[in-house]
């Protein structure tokens, strides 16, 4: 599969008296046309990573290292972090577009839907004259299943699901190669969420753009993604095809996440989630960040940050440390936790 975006060792910090290192040395390749899911708890750095790769990060956020490379369909490469000024303006939205968290509020309440769509086209000199832009806006609404009669509607006249569709139409306006979606369906109820997910998948098949889908809901990602990356405390701790992750999660944190949602029709099991809370990212890092919450934590965990090798950043999978392989419980996917709930 051809890569469309390669992220290499990227780190992001929010500058302050004590800088918060929100993203730490993350490497990731997005392939053309795939759905890459990114999951993790609030504050794990998944949104920051999205902002970094789309060059939308604002001060005090700063990319402190690494590189992002974009591969055009013709093979031409662009150093995304090296772009500036006019080049950057053209690159964003045309190559990578973004659907924001709380997209229901991402629309300008004072402008009609049509105006917001044609603004995008105008700013990027796409779609020719006024008439053509109008026609293209209508076409985009058709694409996401909104009656073109609603072109003149203001955002408040549309339901949450419809607004979300408009935002998706805007993201697709310039035929980007990658669409980054940050919690695009979190604010919607299950029925509307299902519709929007179907819509995204249909459009992706039609246009072949890649989707980076960010959410804290792993159960949702397992269903829609080709590959899934799990983030914890600013690092990518597991990266695997969705089927493999579902069948055999490798990192203890992933196992914990997997036992955080009860199954709808399955057997009633006592599930507990993951006790404890993620570390403060402004404090220095020593060893594996998940160790304080990990039921299998042992001495080697404190010895340094485990690298992401063969799918999981965890020493339990390192044959040099555990010659007999990882603990049986981990392999079985059960996350043992004490029966009293901790405070979070």
């Amino acid at each position: 599969m051809k890569p469309v975006l390669r992220i290499d060792g990227i780190s992001v910090a929010y500058e302050a008296e004590r800088a918060t290192r929100a993203v730490r040395d993350v490497s990731l390749t997005v392939h053309r046309g795939e759905v890459l899911g990114l999951a993790g708890e609030s504050g794990c750095g998944k949104s920051t990573l999205a902002y970094a790769m789309t060059r939308l990060l604002r001060p005090p956020g700063r990319i402190t290292g690494g590189s992002v490379t974009h591969y055009a369909p013709d093979g031409a490469t662009t150093d995304v972090l090296g772009l500036g000024g006019e080049e950057l303006r053209r690159f964003r939205w045309e190559r990578i577009s973004m659907v924001f968290q709380g997209a229901m509020n991402a629309l300008n309440p004072l402008l009609t839907v049509e105006r917001q769509l044609t603004d995008t086209l105008h700013a990027h000199d796409a779609g020719g004259g006024r008439k053509e832009r109008h026609a293209r806006a209508a076409e985009l609404l058709d694409l996401v299943g909104i009656d073109r009669k609603r072109m003149r509607a203001y955002p408040h006249e549309l339901s949450g699901g419809m607004r979300q569709r408009v935002v998706i139409a805007m993201a697709l306006a310039l035929n980007p190669d990658v669409v980054v979606m940050d919690e695009p369906t979190t604010a919607l109820d299950v029925l509307v969420q299902r519709e929007i997910l179907g819509e995204i998948d249909r459009l992706r098949e039609l246009f072949g753009f890649a989707v980076v889908f960010i959410t804290h809901d792993l159960s949702l990602l397992l269903e829609i993604s080709d590959r899934i990356g799990i983030m914890y405390a600013g690092r990518l701790v597991e990266l695997a095809p969705a089927d493999e992750l579902r069948a055999a999660p490798r990192h203890p944190y992933t196992v914990g996440l997997m036992s955080s949602f009860p199954s709808l029709r399955g057997e009633r099991r006592s599930l507990r989630g993951i006790p404890g809370s993620p570390p403060d990212l402004s404090l220095p890092e020593s060893g594996c960040a998940f160790a304080p919450r990990c039921p299998w934590a042992a001495q080697p965990c404190a010895r340094g940050v485990p690298p992401l090798v063969s799918g999981a950043a965890c020493v339990l999978h390192d044959p040099a440390i555990r010659p007999l392989g990882p603990p049986a419980e981990l392999l079985a996917g059960t996350f043992p936790v004490p029966s009293v709930e901790g405070a979070r």
Partner: protein, 267 residues
Amino acid sequence: MTTLDVTGLVKEFNVGNAVRRDVLRAVDDVSFGLPPGRTVALVGASGSGKSTVARILARLETATSGTVTLDGAPAARRGAGLRAYRRQVQMVFQDPFSSLNPRHTVGYHLARPLRIHGHTRRGPEEEKAVHALLRRVSLTPVERVAAARPHELSGGQRQRVAIARALAPRPSVLLADEPVSMLDVSIRLEILHLIDRLKREDDLAVLYITHDLATARHFASEILVMNKGSIVERGPADDVILRPAHPYTRALADAAPDPLRPRTRTR
């Protein structure tokens, strides 16, 4: 023990304008009971009217018609009667980021209901009661949490404060309106287990409002499914989820993310 009963509840909102008057029936003839020591789940999509029901039960909204009774006595609308009702019926809101006052400490949030409902007076006794509440929702160390302001706490911790605040008047009924939908998946279960434990300890009647059928099944004994203001299906939790009779319940169940569902996509 206290039981909250709702009979023939109707709520209409005036929509429309000066020229054309229109009425939206948000809740249409809803009846159910909340027995002590049990959790009843009210599930439905956005706009189904489930939050309106909770708001009427919390007396934040006045019903157009229908009755709400607590142990057979009609719920008061104002004055001392309303205060007595609210001592019994407390609510936990969806968004712990907006339901706590950012200017006040956690201790203040808990001391006020204690004082208002006459359980404590200012002083060391009050501090002890606040600490006891924090301990009940597992927020420790209590001294530090009591002195903290909401922004210093995580979403899950804030929701624990909101739950402790609801417990302060020593209620017999707890209305939980989407108590975990704003929280991370990994901590949702702990909050639900907390509510479940408090229910058992205090013999609380709990109304759990959610659009998540899976947690409704696991934490409630009875499920009511609401659509367009009416209850379209009700029954023991397992029956409603495993053998749904109404097409709307089936639609809700099919829409829920299911990691075990094979992907329909081909590639």
